[in-house]
Assembly symmetry: C2
Homo-oligomer: 360 residues x 2
């Protein structure tokens, strides 16, 4: 990507979100190549970026479509021309089901359910639809969130879906617990359930899993047809800790200004929880400072970040600018109306986070 | 407040933020009466609500003006006609200082500084201004964030401010550590510094403190002229834990829907960290459920909240709606483009969170 003119980052006010487009493209390409090599369909989760342009880049690279956690996000993406969407969420209530019905009229859509209550809502909303709504069953393979609990429940719900006119049972969806143990458990759970469903004449056409932390092990879970990673497009401190990439692969940083150095070892920046979120994800501190690995982000209030720089050879001064790699990139995207695209350390342009704040 | 027509909350999609206007009015009135009784000027911090209408209600009740943490928030409030604003933040950089200069042309403005670097920026920006910029010195009285560290530093900085043409030293500002010990330390710190400044002929006209947790003890800190509480307008689980009010005073709740009851004792709602934030503030769990005190909000992902309801006599069912009192109301305001005003359990109308997302 080149533009006639680029500008130094100095022109940007802080705090702001910088996104390195070269790293975004490299992250998309690297993961797509892995998926292609292993014949897994990639369906990136757009919760991380919430930006139609990046969804389009993901599809152009070879993704079969996208995943949206919220109907409102899916509507934004459909408005932008994305035409293949999975909504892996139990959608409940008359208003949401009407919106779902409208959305199904303009994109290739899949949804999920983990209870008869949710399935019945879909069935009622699509009773007079021209085409059936495709439904995957959400499976709790150890993640401890939503999902049917075992193969029996899955079979029962698959039969319920199939018994509904204008609903089509297409497969299983899970968001497994991360790590080797979680993967093993999810694999056994899914294998058992696929076998049960197949024996009952309801072989799932699709088995969809997700999660960036275990992305590079997706091929080892035989039977998966689809993977839904989200954070891989930006990466963050947590994903680096999990070994998914390096800090040099992290595309999203928060540019901040040192506003105070009130006491020895203490540096205060203008990025607080309103820029970085309070997400710890089990780690120590709220992010790390690009180029200053000894600095610790020890505390956040809404508009201030407190750094302990007592281990740093050189301490930042008031007015200096620091780039913070957040613990978790996805909720950071949701805090900013726009991101600042950069390339080779220069500012390109602002891009609206079009699906930010789509809560319902 | 009455409208010709009100609607049941059923018409609202979830998750959404409900704000009870009667409680808002009562919270404003109660705290203003306390401030009036104790002859402390109230300057509410609008970070909690970020809504011009509520700022106007606070001023109509008797507040001398408002406090904004960000220049962007102050600009929104000035656009809405609020004309007396304190910006207790070190403002740095050419662009921000230009914006500050413009803002000073249309409202009565005060800012703060804790270093010569910041003061020099103000001085340069206001060198040819018609009226001096009023500056308070930020004091670290134990809160451990920004601020000069002792009376000597305060005196030195006050002299520096007074030496700058078009800057006026008007007083001291602190955000103290909460609790009895924090208050005692802040009180001693401020008394010492006021004495030192007075002896040097620089008696501070204003001494401004803040924080909702210790709001009801503000009168005991003799010498304070102004108090800047924010959260008192809504209150939240943390403030109730601190004894500032009761759950019946909490004006802001997040309305959510039960989307899954996958396993005994586990209930999943559609309000996750994107609705409630990950703020723990030292508490157990991410909020509490209105009317269901035995339920614990044990986990959040971005779009899911996990409740442990094993201690509840009756467990919520899929499709039920639950109102969550968040740990911390302020960052919740920042996640929603609009709030839903309610009165007596009925929906009145939506109100934009006009200063949401003003990060700089």
């Amino acid at each position: 990507m080149t533009l006639a003119q680029t500008l130094a980052l100095d022109v940007l006010e802080t705090p702001c979100v910088l996104v390195d487009v070269d790293r975004v493209r490299a992250n998309i390409a690297r993961v797509q190549a892995y998926a292609d090599r292993n014949r897994i369909r990639l369906r990136p989760h757009i919760k991380t970026h919430k930006i139609p342009l990046f969804a389009r880049w993901q599809i152009e690279a070879g993704a079969v479509g996208i995943t949206c956690q919220k109907l409102g996000e899916a509507e934004v993406m459909a408005d932008a021309g994305i035409d293949d969407i999975l909504l892996p969420y139990n959608l409940i209530g008359a208003s949401k089901l009407q919106r779902l019905r409208r959305l199904a009229g303009r994109v290739s859509l899949r949804v999920t359910a983990d209870s008869a209550f949710v399935v019945d809502g879909y069935a009622a909303a699509f009773a007079d639809a021209d085409a059936p709504l495709r439904v995957l069953i959400e499976c709790d393979t150890g993640g401890g969130r939503c999902g049917v609990q075992d193969a029996n429940q899955a079979l029962q719900l698959a039969r319920h879906i199939e018994a509904c006119a204008n609903l089509e049972f297409v497969g299983l969806m899970t968001y497994p617990a991360a790590g080797a143990e979680g993967r093993a458990r999810a694999h056994a759970w899914l294998a058992d359930t696929v076998a049960r469903l197949t024996a009952a004449g309801l072989a799932p056409a699709e088995v969809s899993s997700g999660g960036t932390p275990d992305l590079w092990q997706a091929h080892a879970s035989t039977g998966l047809t689809e993977y839904r990673p989200g954070t891989y497009i930006y990466l963050d401190r947590f994903q680096v800790a999990k070994g998914v990439g390096t800090f040099d692969d992290c595309a999203l940083t928060v540019l901040s200004t040192v506003v105070s150095t009130p006491a020895p070892g203490r540096v205060v920046i203008d990025a607080g929880s309103k820029a970085l979120t309070s997400d710890l994800l089990g780690m120590d501190g709220y992010g790390c400072v690009d180029g200053l690995p000894q600095a610790r982000v020890v505390g956040l209030s809404e508009e201030h970040g407190i750094l302990d720089v007592s281990a740093c050879a050189v301490s930042p001064q008031v007015g200096d600018r620091l780039r913070i790699i957040p613990n978790h990139a996805c909720p950071v995207s949701n805090l900013f109306d726009q991101i600042q695209l950069i390339s080779a350390g220069k500012w390109l342009y602002s891009l609206p986070v079009a699906a930010r704040g789509r809560v319902d």
